[in-house]
């Protein structure tokens, strides 16, 4: 465990970097790489918690009229599952990758505000712990992850659950905005010479645009949260219709935040896919400009579609038509991206590593989720299917089959860079197939359940075929899905101990993070290679030796 650099060697695992030894080094760190790892590790921990909650729900729904848990407990579990997966798992997972990779990809030493970066993580962690403390403080929130009023008013939700929910989301929201600001400033001010905005890796582009979504959407949630807290703690009546308040205002405010939030959860996964697919297809990304600009289009449109969550609330037809049209429109830039990725794979020499397999499954499953999403833009279909299992199927195809599969591609792709060891491809393939079969088995049938009229968030259902059979199939496949997720943790533990040493660039990647050692030293780069195109490492590898050495010397001049 001695410092390998003292003898001229290179660290091949995190434990060999002296700056990262000891608990205090991690608790007090302002190094973006340590904070990124903390984010990712916490997110995986809450992923397992969220999965445990999902398994409890699937056990309850295995048979009609099951008495595994009480209706009240079921309400708490599905609320915590949704809140955990969105705010405690997905967002920190995305932030973890963003704060880890963005400085490396643009050739910087750290984020623009390293202390603010640490503050963002700790706000998230303590907000998350506060949410789970509610179980011990008299009951978890039980009004669903979007907490519709007036159910959340003091007269209907007696326990402190909603208060914990609102407070913890406020705390985590402050951390998210801080981190998003940090990311934007980092991208705008810390790029290495030559790294123009048109040469940014697409992951950085998507993170950059995504950060604007966080900056503009989270405050809408915060405004709604302070109003519901005032209703519960100060006896105001913002959302209480019996006192002149408006329950619909909550829905408007929540979804003004909530729909951009959906894109906040998926854009970084788009970024991961845009890095993974070209590297494993051995081809330049097809339509870089279209991929970047369609992201901006998605960001703009995402603020103009929120009412499609509210088609069944009796709004005027004029409003419905406008939002139906805008909701169909947003499918266009998303579709452009899908075709770009397919065109990148077309004719490439594809290497199906685990990362590439996850990326491919992402394409198929996300498209399925996108198509079921567009159906909701058709108002009559929405009226028929709203609040049914069709919606549950849709969001899981987008966020699990889409975002999470995309992030798994990212985990398998960047784990060697982060830790210095390759994840086991054998366990990876097993995990991939468990997840693909488990995921589709669990959620494909839910489309049918929804069409048959099964309402979401119901703790049980009558014994009316084929509801029982479809639920039983879903619950059985959920076991495979859960096993696949646990297998990730097993793979990480096994590979950290016995994984093959990765080297600087195990995949033949082209972006700057592969130019440094794995794991990168605390200062990131000894020398930042010169950036003259979107693929600086390709340029370096294909330059004549004399130019290559000159380039290294030139790049070394910058720090």
């Amino acid at each position: 465990m001695s410092d390998p650099r003292a003898t001229g060697g290179v660290a091949t695992s995190l434990a060999q970097i002296p700056e990262y030894r000891g608990l205090l080094s991690w608790l007090s760190s302002i190094d973006h790489k340590q904070i990124g790892i903390l984010y990712i590790a916490s997110a995986v921990l809450f992923l397992l918690v969220g999965v445990a909650e999902a398994v409890l729900m699937r056990i309850q729904l295995m048979w009609p009229g099951n008495h595994f848990m009480s209706p009240g407990t079921y309400n708490q579990i599905f609320t915590m599952h949704g809140t955990t997966m969105v705010f405690l798992m997905a967002m920190p997972l995305l932030f973890g990758f963003s704060v880890y990779l963005v400085p490396l990809m643009i050739g910087a030493r750290d984020m623009a505000f390293p202390r603010l970066n640490a503050a963002g993580y700790w706000l998230y962690l303590f907000g998350a712990l506060m949410l789970y403390f509610s179980f011990m403080a008299g009951g978890a929130p039980a009004a669903g992850w979007f907490s519709y009023a007036p159910l959340t008013e003091g007269g209907y939700s007696f326990g402190p659950g909603i208060d914990y929910w609102a407070l913890s989301l406020l705390v985590m929201g402050a951390g998210s905005v801080a981190t998003a600001i940090n990311l934007v400033v980092t991208v705008l001010t810390l790029r290495t010479p030559g790294m123009s905005l048109r040469r940014l890796p697409l992951f950085v582009w998507m993170t950059f645009v995504n950060s604007f979504l966080v900056i503009l959407a989270l405050p809408a949630l915060n405004a709604a949260l302070v109003m519901i807290l005032a209703d519960r703690q100060l006896n105001t009546h913002f959302f209480a219709p019996e006192h002149g308040g408006s329950a619909l205002l909550w829905q408007n405010y929540f979804w003004v935040f909530g729909h951009p939030e959906v894109y906040i959860l998926v854009l970084p996964a788009f970024g991961v896919i845009s890095e993974v697919i070209p590297v494993f297809s051995r081809k330049v990304i097809y339509g870089y400009g279209f991929l970047a600009s369609s992201t901006v289009a998605i960001a703009f449109l995402s603020f103009g579609v929120w009412v499609h969550h509210m088609f069944a609330t009796g709004l005027s037809f004029a409003a419905l038509y406008v939002f139906a049209a805008s909701s169909m429109l947003i499918a266009v830039p998303t579709g452009i991206k899908i075709f770009n990725w397919i065109a990148t794979m077309w004719g490439g020499s594809i290497r199906f590593t685990t990362a590439m397999m996850f990326a491919t499954a992402f394409l198929i499953q996300f498209t399925a989720g996108g198509l079921s999403g567009v159906t909701f833009a058709a108002i009559p279909i929405d009226w028929q299917l709203t609040d049914s299992y069709f919606v549950v199927a849709h969001i899981h195809y987008v966020l699990l089959g889409g975002t999470l599969f995309g992030m798994f591609a990212g985990i398998y792709y960047w784990f060697p860079k982060i830790t210095g060891r390759l994840l086991s491809e054998r366990l990876g393939r097993l995990q991939f197939w468990l997840l693909v079969i488990g995921f589709n088995g669990t959620f494909a049938g839910m489309h049918v359940l929804g069409v048959l009229g099964m309402p979401r968030r119901a703790y049980t259902y009558p014994d009316r075929p084929p509801l029982g059979l479809l639920h039983l199939i879903s619950s059985s496949f959920a076991i495979l899905l859960a096993l696949g997720l646990v297998l990730l943790v097993v793979n990480v533990i096994v590979s950290l101990r016995r994984g093959a040493v990765a080297g600087d660039d195990p995949w033949g990647g082209w972006t700057l993070e592969w130019a440094t050692t794995s794991p990168p030293p605390p200062d990131n780069f000894e020398r930042v290679p010169p950036v003259r195109s979107r693929r600086p490492l390709w340029d370096l590898a294909h330059a004549p030796p004399a130019v290559r050495d000159a380039g290294r010397a030139e790049g070394g001049g910058h720090d």
Binding site: V185, A220, T236
Partner: protein, 184 residues
């Protein structure tokens, strides 16, 4: 360094503007001239509010002058402009506190009706932002007096100025809507 701080603050202010926009929308949404109980027209004193509003507007000017002095490295003058800004912001908060006390004595509270709820939430959050601004101004004045590294104080002042002018601008909108439009 300067650029980085200002950019970060501009993005923060962008985020805060969405927060205030939604609180203002809520105020407008719940404004019913014929509603039961106290209303803006019935209980607010436009003249007094205009008085302490002028103090806040002037504070933007004094902060700008403080920034000018800092750029010229006139530390003593900069400190007095910063303290002047602090006092003007303080006048605003005291004025608001007196207004709140008057309203509470008349039993216009946050829980009385939707006017009270949306009025106190909107102006309360604005007042809180002014308070946070005062804390930052006090730190800046202290650093200037202590002759701390001037280029860093200048950078920090530029960032705080973005925040302070924003808080000031938000009040112009709030005053127009609460004291001019809804009292008409």
């Amino acid at each position: 360094m300067t650029e980085r701080n200002r950019l970060g603050m501009i993005l923060f202010v962008l985020s805060e503007s969405v927060f205030f926009t939604l609180l203002i929308v809520a105020y407008v949404f719940y404004h019913h001239p014929g509603a039961e109980g106290p209303s803006a027209a019935g209980v607010l004193d436009r003249g007094k509010a205009a008085g302490y509003s002028v103090a806040l507007l002037c504070s933007s000017l004094t902060l700008w002058l403080a920034g000018l002095s800092l750029r010229r490295r006139e530390q003593a003058r900069a400190a007095s402009w910063l303290l002047g800004t602090f006092v003007l912001g303080g006048v605003f908060l005291v004025g608001q506190a007196l207004e709140y006390a008057h309203l509470l004595r008349a039993h216009v509270t946050v829980s009385r009706n939707l006017f009270g709820a949306s009025f106190f939430t909107l102006t309360g959050f604005h007042g809180f932002h002014v308070f946070v601004g005062l804390v930052m101004l006090a730190i800046l004045a202290g650093l200037t007096l202590a002759r701390s590294r001037p280029e860093r104080v200048e950078a920090a002042t530029e960032a705080v100025a973005v925040y302070w002018h924003f808080v000031d601008g938000v009040w112009v909108v709030i005053f127009s809507i609460v004291y001019l439009w809804s009292m008409a």
